[in-house]
């Protein structure tokens, strides 16, 4: 069985087998190439075609008879090989002769499904590039491994866009000659001639009588060169497009996977991004939208590049184009919506006072304040604005925040200590923010006179991290003594404002609240700077206190204060210092 082609040869209609047709076509184009335009090529070809038509007509007895390879071979035998036409020129030629080329059609890229493992892409490429398909398959595998799978996409792109070789002509085109500069030149020449033909055919008779001047030949040659350069330039742009778009697509694809956001890949830091300052849309949606929004334009650029390079590339079809455009628009809209949501995400702050109670500690007591950690959530007790993701006892994910602050207030009204816990969070609306604030779990304990405050708060993973924080306000009665553990440093408020008071970094000291101010009871003369200057037999002490300077010198001559001898007496009444006068 063979496909037939209908041809019009010098105005006569013939049925011809497809392979016979291709043979004839190659024969004619080979002859065509052996003449230059200035020799009246089109006329010669027309004459030859007319003669071939005549010969065919002689061979056909029945109108329905099909011309096969045999008839074409016979005709070629009668007419002679293209070389026979050429020899003629060597003798008679007084004009430069066009270089002769073997009749071969330029190669086209097809998928060779007769010799395929997957889609026939590799064997098709092997025909196209003239490399053994084994090497191409090997290259695919290596590229796929090195690009962590992204090359599969390119393979699929080839699979979709490269047509499968189905007909004889496809196979012949697929196995054509190697692509090189001279063939590109030939292609352009043919294309140019075709255009010229259509113009000339308008008035064939007139053309045949036309005397060709050398100037037209020159301009045609110039046109050929210009077209050739233009084509090279366009191909170059195609290559650049493919490379740029291909690299972008591969990096996007790798990015998409490395962000590990397809829901099924849970990298440890995915959840950090997800919980963090991020829209409450799943992260994989965001990355997928971004992937499409950036990827689709580059995909079209890639196709454009391929189209420039490969002439017979299948179109992806209007539905696919519209579909991709739709996906792109949706992605852009989606990203804008997410962007707006993101902007309004922390629009509202909410403070929720969840607990206010008095502690059984009176003004006469000494209150010790200590932070406590929990090996599960925090190891180091430090005040931080960030967050951690941990598992609770049941294995659920929880967000651990360490933004805990201790505020102190003095009161003259109460006689016991009262404690208020204020939880804070942000949200898109006040309700959302206060709900989120209420969801913060914060604990403390009172052991005797020691207040053990958690150095952290936890909240459910689903609540996300939205600047959750906990403020503890201790309202202290006048006269109380407090002792803040060293580990409260950092958690203690260090500003004095309104009626808030600060322990002013005096952790590990006993501080008495007098007149709304802490007075250090255990501190050594702390306000003073000491400077010892110890010689062998004298002690010099410089004391800087408030706005007075003291110079105390002790040696064998006695005690001198500010270079004046003084008497120092220490007994059960205290210390008495007198000037000698």
């Amino acid at each position: 069985m063979n496909k037939t082609v209908n041809i019009n040869l010098a105005g006569i209609f013939f049925h011809i087998d497809e392979d016979a047709y291709l043979k004839l076509q190659r024969y004619l184009s080979a002859i065509k190439r052996s003449f230059t335009d200035s020799q009246g090529r089109d006329e010669i070809i027309a004459d030859i075609e007319a003669r071939i038509a005549e010969l065919f007509s002689e061979k056909i007895r029945d109108e329905r008879q099909v011309i096969g390879n045999k008839e074409v071979d016979e005709v070629i035998a009668v007419m002679g090989q293209p070389e026979d036409y050429r020899l003629d020129e060597e003798i008679f030629e007084d004009e430069p002769r066009a270089s002769y080329q073997r009749p071969k059609s330029a190669k086209q890229l097809f998928r060779d499904t007769t010799n395929s493992y997957v889609g026939g892409v590799s064997s098709g490429l092997s025909h196209y590039l003239g490399i053994d398909s084994t090497w191409i398959r090997l290259a695919w595998i290596l590229f796929t491994i090195f690009s962590s799978g992204a090359f599969i996409l390119i393979y699929i792109a080839f699979w979709i866009f490269v047509p499968e070789a189905k007909s004889t002509s496809d196979f012949l085109a697929m196995k054509g000659e190697a692509v090189n500069i001279s063939n590109i030149e030939k292609k352009i020449k043919e294309g140019f001639d075709d255009v010229a033909d259509t113009v000339k055919n308008v008035d064939y008779q007139k053309y045949s009588n036309k005397v060709k001047s050398s100037s037209t030949t020159f301009f045609e040659a110039l046109g050929d060169v210009l077209l050739f350069l233009l084509k090279i330039f366009v191909k170059f742009i195609g290559v650049i497009l493919i490379i740029t778009a291909g690299i972008t697509l591969i990096s996007l694809f790798i990015g998409l996977f490395t962000v590990g956001t397809f829901g099924f890949m849970d990298t440890p830091w995915t959840e950090y991004i997800e919980v963090g300052n991020h829209p409450d849309v799943p992260l994989w949606i965001v990355s997928l939208l971004a992937f499409f929004a950036v990827g689709i334009p580059f995909f079209f650029l890639f196709i454009l590049g391929l189209k420039i390079l490969i002439n017979n590339l299948k179109s992806i079809g209007t539905p696919a184009k519209l579909g991709l455009l739709g996906v792109w628009i949706i992605s852009i809209i989606g990203l804008s919506v997410i962007g707006i949501r993101q902007a309004t995400l922390e629009a509202y702050d909410a403070d929720v006072i969840t607990e206010e109670k008095t502690l059984p500690i009176t003004a006469k007591d000494t209150l010790t304040i200590k932070m406590q950690g929990n090996d599960r959530y925090v190891r180091q007790l430090r005040h931080r604005d960030d967050y951690r993701i941990k598992r609770d006892e049941e294995g659920n994910r929880v967000i651990v925040v360490r933004d805990i602050e201790i505020y102190m207030k003095s009161t003259k009204r109460d006689s016991v200590v009262s404690l208020a816990i204020k939880k804070k969070a942000e949200g898109r609306s006040y309700d959302e923010a206060s709900e989120r604030a209420e969801d913060i779990k914060y604990f403390y304990e009172l052991e005797g006179k020691t207040l053990l405050l958690d150095g952290f708060a936890i909240t459910d993973y689903a609540n996300k991290f939205r600047d959750q924080e906990v403020n503890i306000t201790l309202t202290l009665p006048e006269g109380i003594t407090i002792y803040a553990d060293d580990n409260t440093s950092g958690f203690n408020n260090s500003w004095t404002y309104d009626d808030y008071i600060t322990i002013d970094r005096k952790e590990e000291e006993y501080l008495k609240l007098v007149d709304g101010k802490f007075v250090c009871e255990s501190c050594p003369e702390k306000e003073n700077d000491w400077e010892y200057d110890e010689d062998e037999d004298e002690v010099k002490i410089n004391i800087n206190s408030e706005d007075q300077n003291f110079n105390l010198k002790i040696d064998e001559d006695g005690v001198e204060l500010n270079n004046e001898p003084v008497k120092v007496k220490i007994d059960e009444d205290g210390i008495e210092i007198k000037t000698e006068n």
Partner: protein
């Protein structure tokens, strides 16, 4: 160097002269010209003649007219122009001289 090529070249060298001679008295279309040439074994393959005819026509030695054909496409009937006739006349002289010269040379060699 192939003997076939040399033979072909020798034949082709006088082909122009032969074609003009065929058209001396009557117009003829390609198949007729080809028939005469083939019978005389001047031609092995037909292809050679087409560029030649075009050349002669472009040089103004030949002209042609179209004639309908009962079988196949319309035929191009070639005929000599006035220039062609003059050209042929000159070639006739040249051919005679050449023939004489070749005879002289080859026979001389034979002796």
């Amino acid at each position: 160097m192939k003997i076939e090529n040399t033979k072909a070249q020798m034949r082709k060298g006088v082909l122009e002269y032969c074609i003009l001679s065929i058209l001396k008295d009557d117009d003829a279309y390609v198949a007729e010209i080809l028939g005469t040439l083939k019978d005389a074994k001047m031609l092995v393959v037909e292809g050679t003649i087409y560029p030649l005819l075009t050349r002669l026509k472009n040089a103004g030695l030949l002209n042609y007219r179209w004639e309908e054909s009962t079988s196949g496409p319309p035929r191009k009937y070639y005929g000599l122009t006035e220039t062609g006739k003059l050209f042929l006349k000159e070639l006739n002289t040249t051919w005679d001289e050449l023939q004489h010269a070749v005879n002289l040379v080859t026979k001389q060699k034979k002796k």
